[in-house]
Amino acid sequence: MKIALIGNPGAGKSLIFNQLTGLGVEINKYPGSAIGLECGNVCYKNEKIELVDLPGIYSLDGDSEEEVLVRRFLEKDGADSLIAVIDATKLERNLYLLTQIAEYALPMVVVVNMIDVAENQGLFIDTARLGAIFGTQVLPAAAVLGKNIDRILPLALTSSQPPTLRVPYDHHIEAALRSLEKTMATPRRKNLLALQGTGDDAALRDAAASVATEIEQRHHMSVGQIIATNRHNFARGVAAEVVKQSQEKKGFDLDSILTRAFPGIPILCLILFSLLLSVFVIGSWMESWIVGGFTEYILTPFASLGLHPLAERIGYSVLVALEAGLGIAFPFVFTFYLGLSFLEDTGYMTRAAFLADRSMHRLGLHGEAIIPMVIGFGCAVPAVMSLRILKTRREQTIAAFLITLVPCSARTVVVAGIVAAFVGIIWAFSIYLIVFVLIIITAIVISRLTPGEQFGMIVEMPSLRKPRIKLVLRKSWLRIKEFLFIAIPLLIVTSVFLGLFQYFGVIDIFQSLVSPITVSLLGLPAYASTALLFGIFRKELAFETLAVLSGTADLGSVMTSVQLYTFAIVSILFIPCISTVAVLYKQLGAKIAILTSAYSLVLGMLIGVLINILIK
């Protein structure tokens, strides 16, 4: 038995899914898609039910990744029953999707969620009437209060039925649908898609294309536009029939502060700054515990085992990689995710995108790109993974270059550990300043060079709400899991290789080969190149390796301030860490991965040399 939840983003699907499944949710990658489907099992009356939470979508005809995935899911896998979740406060817009879902004629029930909020706003919804129009069972519910949630599964199991509703389209469209039905013997729903130029049946698309052109010429409007207008008008009619509005209540609208330039933008800066600061403070504190504990209880006992030197080297590398992974993942990345998921759950991030839109345009991006950028301050790996919210290849490419330069939490550790500690706080901030200037210059140059059109932002701003702690925790946990799966294996492999290189003396050869660059161009000690090399593996390892190689934790006593400053800035800029490169390769292909790495390598070297020449 397979039941899928479907609905608009923000309709409360995830919360219902969470309440129905509880723990034991897993993310299954859907074949051929980067998006994971959340699946969970529920036992009801001794029957095992597989529950799938489909990603939130606005339409079933679109070509965004989520929409394509849901469409394919409905067409290929299907489900024994669909639970369509609609938001009572935004009924009309939600009905638009519901009319499309109804066209798939799968057995379904409709849950009208947030009925409590709607009633507070003076909206009363005649669910029986709605059910009669669509020909399905309709259940009013309030997921936040847990109202009627326990009735969803029994209803879906006993009373799911294919909806009988058919949206009346424009008569030209209807005629085209009928003629396609006759000539191609394909179902209405597929013909509708084909008329809009989508669907995977090429012959049908060709047949539909000529009819579509004809209709478009008559209407001077695209078929997609006509169909959408028909559906919206239909939805408006239904909403007018089932919603009774008693009186309009107006509470205080927080958006009257948040989306204004003033004080909205200062608030945005304050929120982002305090997010980063608290992640840094909490992260450093947790990291010292984790690394300290790891060294004391695992590394020291391991060293005292007295294994064969080669085995010890390999084992040590694996353990150090684990330590590094955990030392960055939980203190920094996880704390950051908690904060970010919290902000996302309140709905604030869309306000941030709105406020940042114009500035992002200057960088060749638009408001939505602020989300990967902000994530980049935590860690570049999830930031790159989140790039898929940007719709065009051009935006993804520009954003990828910028993300590799954004100072992530590991780089912050380097700046704090080397520059702030031994050179001075002001100098630490100057590094940030340099990096920001470089980001802006890079953006301007890259956006000129990258081909493609610039598109603007169209984002729904959901109503602000109190974050649901459980959902925030779950989202952060799923994200950190994704991070661990990518980063930890890579860290172990790279670490073992570096360990072996060190064991067989390859590192020394490398050090002497690049020493002309390190010593004469950058003005650093020869062993700094090894430290930089380790930085590729994990940025703050550059700092730790430097301490090990120089033989003292008091770096100020072995290197000059200029040397420390140069070292910090080079290690920050040059080559994103190996996990980032890997995830760039996975997400955007080898070309972008190589280009961004090469670019940051050149940039890092260039700035390092410049500083060395100018300041010395």
Partner: protein
């Protein structure tokens, strides 16, 4: 029975059949036309007697073929008149519909055909941009001729204004706009406009944030 009354019945039966994919029963007609129950029953009897309608065994009412054609003609008249009144003359949709309800019974077929041709004929040059669409679309597919002459784009208006979407220019990103409900004829409210041109509009009770260039691709008109 008055012709106009008869035509109202035919129209109501056809609309109901189209909307719910099944013919109406007497109760549906009472709701739709908002007449007294006894009147409706009497009228239906009269219509059945004249051979316009048949009462099915399940109480649902179907039209004879002859009357279906008449009913369709009435609906067409209604749509064309409503389009003309609302789009060309600028009446608001509800009063245009009420007015069309009255005229539809008196207007001749020839007037309607000519009006239809007038609405359908394209405007050669539209100031709304090179790829702008001069024609509009309404509920059942009547095309209307509207000049974009005094049409403005969303970005030209200020916070708090209520507007009606007339057209969306350009392609590409318009699909998401359509899905969010920004379609011709839709009422929108500008909830926020920043000085740099970014806009938040309220569409169908939802807030949607738009970049300036998107806001300037949406042709709108002030609420009449």
């Amino acid at each position: 029975m008055r012709t106009s009354l008869r035509e109202d019945y035919l129209e109501a039966i056809l609309i109901h059949t189209g909307r719910y994919s099944q013919p109406p029963c007497a109760q549906d007609l009472i709701e739709m036309l908002q007449f007294d129950e006894s009147d409706v029953r009497a009228h239906l009897e009269e219509l059945a007697h004249m051979g316009d309608i048949c009462l099915r065994n399940d109480g649902r009412i179907i039209l004879t073929d002859q009357c279906t054609a008449t009913g369709k003609q009435i609906i067409k008249k209604h749509e064309i008149l409503q389009s003309f009144l609302s789009e060309i003359l600028g009446m608001d949709r509800t009063s245009a519909s009420d007015e069309a309800c009255r005229i539809e019974h008196a207007v001749s077929d020839e007037t309607i055909d000519r009006l239809g041709d007038y609405l359908r004929s394209p405007v050669p040059q539209s100031p709304c941009g090179s790829d702008a669409v001069p024609n509009r679309y309404c509920l059942h597919g009547v095309q209307r001729r509207i000049s974009c002459g005094n049409a403005n784009v969303l970005g030209d208006f200020e916070e708090g204004e209520r507007l009606v979407v007339r057209d969306i220019r350009g392609r590409g990103c318009s699909k998401r706009l359509l899905d969010l409900g920004v379609v011709p004829g839709q009422l929108v409210l500008i909830k926020r406009k920043l000085r740099n041109g970014s806009i938040v509009v309220q569409v169908k009770d939802c807030d949607v944030a738009l970049s300036p260039e998107i806001a300037s691709a949406i042709c709108v008109e002030r609420m009449p």
